[in-house]
Structure formats: C-alpha cells, structure tokens
C-alpha cells in the first residue's frame, strides 16, 4: 500500500474557503429579503445580473489564464470557492434599485408612471461586476490578493462614472415614494426626532443603496457571522464606534445641538448611510482588512475619521465607501508594522550610547502597541 508523506499536521479542521463564503451568503440573506421587501423586484434583477456577470468574468479570466478550457479547468478555477457570489450580492446591495442614465434612458414605465424595467440598471450592474471582479480582484491575483474591496470599488466606480448622469439620483422605496438620495438624512440634515431614528432602524426611509435599508437585517447578519466566528465580533463595533465618535467631533459638536438632540444626531450618523452595512460586511473583508487586533483598531479609527470628514466637509453626503477604499490601501502598511509580540517576548535592553536607526524604532513601538493581542 502506497503511503502519503507530508509535513505535519496531518489532520485539519473541516473548514474551507467555500464554507466561509456560504456563511457570508447566509448572513446576507436577511438584507436581501429586506431589500426586496422595500424596493421590489428590481433588487432581484440587479442581484441576478451581478451574480451572472461576476461568475462569467471570474470564470473567463481563470480559464483564459490557465489556458485549460476543459471541464477540469472549470472545476479547478476559483469560481468554485463562491467568493464571486459574495462580491456580487454585496455589490447589488450597495446600489440603488433603479439607476437610470439620462443620456440613454432605456426604461419601460408602467401605467402608473413608475419604472417597470430599466435596461440602464442592468448595464450598470454588469459594468460594476466586471470592474469589481476583473479589475480589482483577478488582475491582482484573485482571492486574497486584491488590495481593495471589489464590491466597494465597483460601487464607487459606478457612482463616480454615472453619478452625474443621474444614476444615483432616484431611490424610491415602496413605502415612501419619491425619496431620493438627497432626501436621506445625510443630505437634508433635518432635525432628528425619535420617530426618524426608529424609521431609520426599521428601514422605513430612503437610502442610497438597497442593502443599507433595514438595520435589523444587518444586525441579524452580524450576529450570525460573529456566532460562526467568520468575523471577529469586536471589529464592526469598533468601526461603528469610531464613526460615531468622529462625526460627533466634526459634525455634531459644531452644530451646537445640546441634550437629546446631540445624542440623536450621533445615532442618526450611524444609522444612515452605509455605515452599518459596511462595518459588518465590507470592513471585515478578509483580504482588505488588517490581520491583527491593533491593526484593526487603527483601520477602524481611519475609516471613522475619513467618513466623518467627508460627511462634515466633503462634497458628497455619504463617505463610508470612500473611507473604506482609502483605508484598504493602508492595510499592507498596517500589517507590516503592527506585528503581535511573540509569546515570551522580552524587551531588548536599551543601549544608552549608540543611537538606533529610526526605522527600528517604528517597528518596536508597533510591536509594543500590538502587545495585548
């Protein structure tokens, strides 16, 4: 009998990349259901479009790269790990239900004058998927090697490229007709009331992206992912907390609100826009977030800071996805300098006379910061 020889360990857990991706997809189900409830069948069309185009792009890319067009080539390609589906679902949930480009406007209207089917939306979803998978993920080496969150980048691409053409202008919830991006709290900055907060929490309000609607659904996903240990439960809390803190500093304090209004404003900052959805599903993306606890603290602080800056002083009402994209780029740097202290680490005794080069000092303080984890 031939025996296999390999390095230890010889047993592994029954965990796999595909199982992790399936867990994320399960966690996304409540958000998808809520999006469909609030925005109707358009969400399903977008979702299917994104899924198809993400799948085809990734499959084609890997087939062309491996030059193996047989059945085995398909089986060994990276589509089998289902990460394309996670990207597709997150991307679809990050877009408005209907995106019409005023220049083309291939849209069918129903008798009531509402949009029945928008071909523009399908084209934009397809474009976003191709950018997300081909440009951001596969060109940089596939899963685990992408420098930025594919779904986030796909959304930002569409937002910047077609935002001017009116694609991100209309968001009509089934319950609150004619709500627009401008009509979200971040655009109007109306005085916050308790009822408004409750509406934001339940999803009964206009949002720029369909997945951000219902906070309850997002929390369900968060609890599931934390319980399955797919994500560390602390990280989304850190991100949300940091957004809260910095929007308080830059926005709420200057606004001069006192007492309950002060508190309501802070909550409104967290509940509106993509903060909750992004903190749970996008900022925890494996390849684009740091691998250490203290690295994630730095990451969360950065995301919160930039989000608050864009919201307070920027030209866009919402800045979470931009903040995320910018912080994604710092991740390699964070992981280079914030290394946990190995077990039994002894601080080297400081020599008094010879000066240490500056580079080493940075490494040391970083190691010190990472000490508790």
């Amino acid at each position: 009998m031939r025996q296999t020889v390999s390095a230890s360990p010889h047993i592994t857990s029954n965990n796999s990349t595909r199982k992790i991706m399936i867990d994320v997809l399960i966690a996304l189900v409540p958000c998808v259901v809520c999006a469909v409830v609030f925005y109707g069948y358009h969400v399903i069309i977008n979702l299917v479009t994104c899924l198809i185009f993400c799948f085809v792009t990734e499959l084609l890319y890997s087939l062309i790269k491996s030059k193996n067009l047989s059945k085995e080539g398909v089986k060994s390609s990276s589509v089998t790990d289902l990460s394309f589906a996670v990207t597709a679902v997150i991307l679809a949930l990050n877009l408005p239900s209907v995106m019409t480009v005023s220049a083309w406007n291939v849209t069918a209207y129903n008798a009531k004058g509402a949009v029945a089917f928008s071909f523009d939306t399908v084209v934009l979803c397809a474009l976003g998927s191709i950018v997300a998978i081909a440009l951001v993920k596969m060109l940089f080496g596939g899963i685990g090697k992408n420098f930025a969150n594919p779904a986030c980048t796909g959304r930002i691409f569409l937002f910047i490229a077609f935002g001017g053409a009116g694609a991100f202008a209309t968001v009509s919830s089934l319950f609150e007709s004619a709500a627009t991006t401008g009509a979200t709290w971040l655009g109007t900055r109306d005085a916050v009331t308790g009822d408004m907060l409750l509406d934001m929490f339940l999803g009964n309000t206009g949002t720029a992206a369909v997945g951000e609607t219902c906070v309850i659904a997002i929390l369900c996903g968060y609890v599931y992912l934390s319980a399955r240990k797919v994500i560390d439960w602390r990280y989304p809390l850190m991100t949300v907390g940091s957004v809260m803190l910095f929007s308080m500093l830059f926005d709420v304090v200057p606004s001069g609100h006192k007492g309950l209004a002060f508190f309501y404003d802070m909550l409104a900052h967290v509940l509106s826009g993509g903060v909750m959805f992004g903190a749970v599903f996008m900022a925890t993306d494996y390849s684009t977030s740091p691998n250490t606890f203290w690295g994630n603290v730095v990451f969360a602080v950065g995301v919160g800071l930039i989000t608050a800056l864009i919201r307070a002083f920027g030209s866009f009402p919402e800045g979470f996805s931009f903040a995320l994209l910018i912080m994604n780029l710092t991740v390699p740097l964070i992981d280079k300098y914030i290394i946990p202290k190995p077990f039994g680490y002894v601080k080297p005794e400081k020599k008094k006379k010879d000066k240490k080069p500056k580079k080493e000092k940075i490494g040391q303080t970083a190691a010190k910061e990472a000490g508790n984890e």
């Binding site: 009998m1 360990p9 010889h10 047993i11 199982k19």
Partner: protein, 430 residues
C-alpha cells in the same frame, strides 16, 4: 476545580479510542535493530562487537560526551551486526541483535541513596531521555544551570489518539508519582505539580487517591483540553503563569518540565535498576486492534503493527507520533526508539490529502497561534524566498504545533513553510 489554560490554541477532536485498553506486552521479533541515536545530541558509541552475547539491559552504546545517552540491548541474544540503517529523519548505526527468546535480564546495581547526586548518576547510567518526543538527555535537563523552584509533571497528552501516558498514569500511578518525586529531588525540590487535561478525569482520581495514600507532596493542576496544552512553554504558562523568554529555556523562569513516561523510566531505573530499553506505545487509527503496548526498543514498527492485527486496506498515511506533530513514514520498516510514543495509521476519511488553495488572508492562523505569530506572512515570505522578512514575522519562535495549518480554511501547509524558513535562516545566517 478551577481549570487553567494558555492563550489561543485550538480544539482538536480527541479520538482517544485506546484510552480503555490496558498496556500489553508486544513480543520482540527474532532480530532487533537498535539505533544508537535515539536522542538529541551525539549518537552513542557502539561498545559491543559482532558475536558478543548480550542480555537484556546490557549496554551496547556508551554516551559520547555530555549531551548524549547510553543505549541498551532490549533482548538477550547474540550481536549479529552493526550496520547503518535508515531512520525516519535520516540514518544512523543500528546494532542488530538476534533474539534468543530467553529475555535474560541484566540490571543496574541497587541504588543505596536516593539523593540528588546518586539519582542524577542513575538517570545518566540508565540512558534516560525526555520521552515526550524530543529525546533530550535527562541527565542534562535535570541538572539545570539556573535554580529551579517548580517541577511540573507533564501529563497533558494533548495530541489526538495518543493514550500511552494516560494508561501509564492509570496502571502505574504510584510508580509514576514516585519517579516524578525523584526528578523533583534531582532539582532540589520536595514537591511538584502535575499538569493534566480534563479529558483524563479517571487518571486525576487515581492520582488524588495515590497522593492521599502515599503522602506524595504533589499538586494537581487541572488544564482545559486544548491543543497544544502539553507544549512546554504553554504548559508552564498554564500552570505557573510564567512566560519562558524568547529563545530561552524553562530554567530561565525557574521551572523544569518532565513527561509522565520519563518519570516512570526514572522510577524503574532507580528502584528496579532497569535501564531504559522498553516503552509504552499507542497503536491507533486504521488498525484491526487499536491498543497500547509495551514494546522493546529496536523492534520494528511493522512488528508492532502486526501484533495489533495489521493496517486496514484503506490506510493512506502512517505516522510516528500524533497527527499534529508526528512524522509521516513511507513504510513501517523503522525501529522503535526511546521516543516513539505512537504509531498511527490514518485512512482517507481522517487525514488531510487535498492540495492547498490560495490564502484568503482570513487571519485565523494568527488568531490561534499559541506563540502569537503571523503564520500567513511567514508562509508568503518563505514562498517568495525572502527569509529575512519571514524571521521578522517570528519564524524562529514557532514551536511547529500545527494549530495554524489545522485551522487554515485554504489548507495551506504553513508548518512546512516555517520548517523551510527555519532551515534557510540558519543556512544563510540571517
């Protein structure tokens, strides 16, 4: 009882199916091949010549230098040859002895005094090494250069499948405790601690009874069943909350650790005068009769396997040692040594044979690493042949416990990379 543990680590399936089967004597084959290198350090020097008659317990290899250990004949018979044979990690000289089947014994003289010096002398004379797997000569280990205030008997046995220490504790409770107190004596201590995982509560009961009955000055520290609880640094942290410094020895924090089987061997050598030529071993996995056996060193692994009914047809991996840190063998034609604690046969269902996928950067390896390293970067930099950077991420601190590779969803061979990195760092002198 409060349970202690170290930080991080993983939960592994125990699969300790043989914990109920008592130790049985495995008959020695017609010819035993006894390796002269059964320990860390210099191989012993052969001191018999072809044609010599030897008894079981006769010295056939003398310790060569300070870090070395005596090697004894495990059977009585005639020396047939001294030849170089393969071992799982290389090759060394083996003494082949034809077994006459009489098992005549030769023992060391009765020990008069049980004080520090005479015990240490006996440990050296009986060729005792650390029997948990490393095989470091005990005479060196128990004469540390720094003062030690705690001796821990390592009864964690955290590797899946292996049960030989557990059986020893159940069957030879008093002998093991006595051996451990001798080890404590060599360190100048009058009491010791026993670190044991909570999946061996029957052994805990036995030990408590023996402590009460014999008045042994020992204290049980119950540990959570978590891998790698029995790794030296982790055990010391779990029991004493002391951290062995990077690149340091347990003696640096005033601790010494001894394995259950080592303690038993010390008892056997001190009280019965029997040198170390046989050991308890677990044969488990895909075999007809998984069991715990007493086996004489120099027997072939295939003899043990035959005694246990042979391997099943679908066995794909043969391991010397446990599934987390054991060595995969290409065949079973190797000799049993003082440190062979288990022979494990795994079928396709129980072993990982799939190819590694791309790292998804999930960070699970860093989250479970008991040494607090970042295995994903060590792996990546080793594959990129940037060993300096691999060292910066802690390649040299790795204890190769395998938690990272166990937990990796992409099934990456992280430990293999670390092993390569360690060797290359040494080679290149980084």
């Amino acid at each position: 009882m409060k349970k202690f543990t170290f930080k991080k680590g993983i939960r592994v399936p125990h699969n300790k199916t043989t914990s109920g089967s008592p130790l049985v004597e495995c008959p020695a084959p017609a010819t035993v091949y006894i390796p002269l290198a059964q320990h860390i350090g210099k191989p012993a020097v052969c001191c018999v010549s072809v044609g010599d008659k030897v008894k079981a317990g006769a010295v056939i290899g003398r310790a060569d230098g300070f870090v070395s250990a005596n090697v004894f004949s495990s059977v009585s018979g005639t020396v047939k040859s001294v030849e170089r044979r393969k071992t799982p990690n290389g090759a060394c000289a083996h003494v082949a002895i034809e077994n006459d089947g009489k098992y005549e014994c030769e023992s060391l003289p009765k020990l008069e005094k049980f004080d520090k010096e005479s015990l240490l002398e006996r440990i050296a004379a009986a060729g005792i090494v650390g029997m948990g797997g490393a095989g470091f000569p005990a005479s060196v280990k128990y004469a540390p250069k720094k003062p030690v205030d705690t001796f821990i008997l390592n009864a964690a046995e955290c590797e899946p499948y292996i049960t030989c220490d557990h059986r020893l504790l159940l069957e030879q409770t008093e002998s093991v405790l006595e051996g451990a107190s001798y080890l404590a004596t060599t360190l100048g201590l009058d009491s010791f601690k026993i670190g044991i995982e909570d999946n061996k509560l029957d052994a805990v009961e036995r030990i408590n009874a023996a402590i009460a009955e014999k008045g042994v000055r020992a204290e049980i520290v119950l540990l959570k069943s978590r891998y790698p609880q029995g790794a030296e640094k982790q055990l010391i942290y779990a029991v004493t909350r002391r951290k062995v410094p990077r690149g340091g020895l347990p003696a640096d924090v005033g601790v010494a650790v001894g394995n259950v089987h080592t303690a038993y061997a010390v008892f056997d050598a001190a009280v019965n005068g029997t040198p170390l030529y046989r050991r308890a071993m677990t044969v488990a996995g895909a075999v007809a009769r998984p069991s715990n056996i007493w086996v004489r060193t120099g027997s072939k692994l295939s003899d043990c396997l035959e005694f246990c009914g042979g391997a099943s047809a679908d066995c794909v991996k043969t391991l010397a040692g446990g599934p987390m840190m054991g060595t995969a063998l290409d065949h079973t034609d190797y000799s049993v040594t003082k440190t062979t604690g288990a022979l494990l046969l795994l079928d396709r269902k129980h072993v990982e044979t799939s190819q590694p996928h791309a790292c998804i950067n999930c960070g699970k390896c860093a989250r479970v690493c008991p040494m607090n390293l970042m295995p994903m970067y060590i792996d990546a930099y080793t594959l990129a042949e940037n060993y300096g950077e691999a060292k910066r991420y802690g390649a040299l601190d790795c204890i190769e416990c395998g938690c990272c590779a166990f937990t990796c969803p992409a099934k990456r061979t992280l430990v293999q990379s670390v092993k390569v990195a360690k060797r290359k760092i040494k080679e290149l002198g980084l």
